[in-house]
Amino acid sequence: MTEAQAAIDPAERFLHETTPLQRVHYILHRYPAISPAVVLVLAGLVLGAVNTRFFLPANLSLVVQQVAVVGGLAVGQTLIILTAGIDLSVGAIMIFSAIVMAASASTYGLPGPIALLIGLVVGTLAGGINGLLVTRLRLPPFIVTLGTLNIFTALTLLYSGGQSIQKGIPDILLWTGTDVTIGPFKLTTGVLLMVLMYAVATWVLRNTAWGRHLYAVGDDPEAARLAGIAVTRILLSAYLVAGFIFALTAWILIGRIGAASPNAAADANLDSITAVVIGGTSLFGGRGLIFGSLLGALIVGVFRNGLALAGVDVLYQTLVVGVLVIVAVAIDQWIRRVRA
């Protein structure tokens, strides 16, 4: 390359020396939330065209409410996947926290706020156990959380005797089910809590050293270590924060179903991973946006709802979600192949 060529404005060069596909590639690489946003809009348009009821405020409100629990879990799941980990125990931690919260109040008669606090502490500790096993015993996160998925599920069943807790749940635990009307939309405080979780997590990942280090540790742990980052401490803290988020989501869950059930949200573990992956966060760590996971959760919600309105069998909805996951990961692989 001659000096004259090198001197051309980089923007000029970008427009002249790249194919349209390369430009799309570059833009998707730079803004990873674009592809899920496009999918969400397209899905909405198509499903809305098939059945106009889809766009009714009442229906859209329902979709968002249905998404609140998986969306909440996906916040914590994203943090862990950004560190190049994975958490199969998110739903189990959430349900365990929910049962502990409800039982503390209804069985042991503790005041509502104390019960909530105990549940949040238990969830955080459960996340901490995952984190300790990953960082101290250096076991793969997949194996650790596969184990703790079973352990927390068993603890939940042993503790609750397999029974739902419906009576004596204090108002504060049910507060997340309170209706909130915004314009034509009827949402709940639980939905708002989920949105707040996304806002806070987005801010923290962007604007704090901890957030930047989380990406660094997930992308290249050795480079992070050489840059002076305490890699194990960042990993452990990610699992602790995620555990806290799962417990907060347990609160949303109790408000949504009005009870604490050991059998609720059985698909939540994998659904949260689905949301994160469709949202454009890379399973290899270090790449992705927390906001993308909200889009991912909404995409799944919109597809299930829209296909149901279109009269498509539930089994096909699941099939579509499966195809979406594979397409999302394929796109991620393509985006990650950057030209130098």
């Binding site: 390359m1 090198a6 980089p10 923007a11 970008f14 570059y26 690489h29 730079r30 604007n207 704090t208 050293a209 901890w210 930047r212 280090h213 990406y215 660094a216 992308d219 290249d220 050795e222 480079a223 992070a224 270590r225 050489l226 840059a227 002076g228 980052i229 270090g286 790449r287 950057v338 030209r339 130098a340």
Partner: protein
Amino acid sequence: MTAAVQVRPIIEARGLVKTFGRVVGLDGADFELYPGEVLAVIGDNGAGKSTLVKCLSGAMVPDAGEMLVHGEPVVFRRPQDARAAGIETVYQSLAVVPALDIASNMFLGREIRRSGPLGSIFRMLDHGQMRAKARQQLQDLGIGTLQSITQAVETLSGGQRQAVAVARAAAFGSQVIILDEPTAALGVRETAQVLKLIRDLRDRGLPVILISHNMPNVFEVADRIHVQRLGRRVAVISPSTHTPSEAVAIMTGALDATSPPAVTSTAATSAAVH
């Protein structure tokens, strides 16, 4: 010879030993770096170049021996310790995080926070200041061809990545910059850029330790050449008194390196000249 004694080394190492199980990385290696020089460290594979440099940069802890900075004994247990002493290293792997942007990489692990409660209570980073400083640093080093300071490092060419890593080291290194095989993965043009960077750094008063296999590069920029062989320093030579083939001969043991007194004295004199 006497002049050399008066110039105190910036970094000194005495009798460093480092073993990995039954493999001996360093076997009583000595080392000196004088102010304002480019010191090349050469040696065959397994001669202990990388191990020596990792000890100096805090990435490895030697089993025995002592290290001194400005004549004061130091112990580096972590890379941060060496950094606190003003020693910055550009590793062969570059140690940059591909997915993060240029500014984030330059300040990784040493982020600047906002002033006031936003920084102290909410721990909020000052992206604007970090970007401005990163841009300034790259310009100071004559690396202005980057598209944007917020570009992910993985979208840069090999030479540009190297430049980012060197700029990071230069921004924080107050005493010395260590470059481990900086030209190994680069093309001809990019190699020339990095060699120019090395000379620029020296001209700004920062001594540079250059670990390299590449004899033409070494002879082009080095003031002195530390020859490492079988875990020890066998000679210190100068590009003005030795030819590249002699250097290779000492490195491989073909030329008897048991007569280093004559060799080192020439080198020490040349060091004193600098």
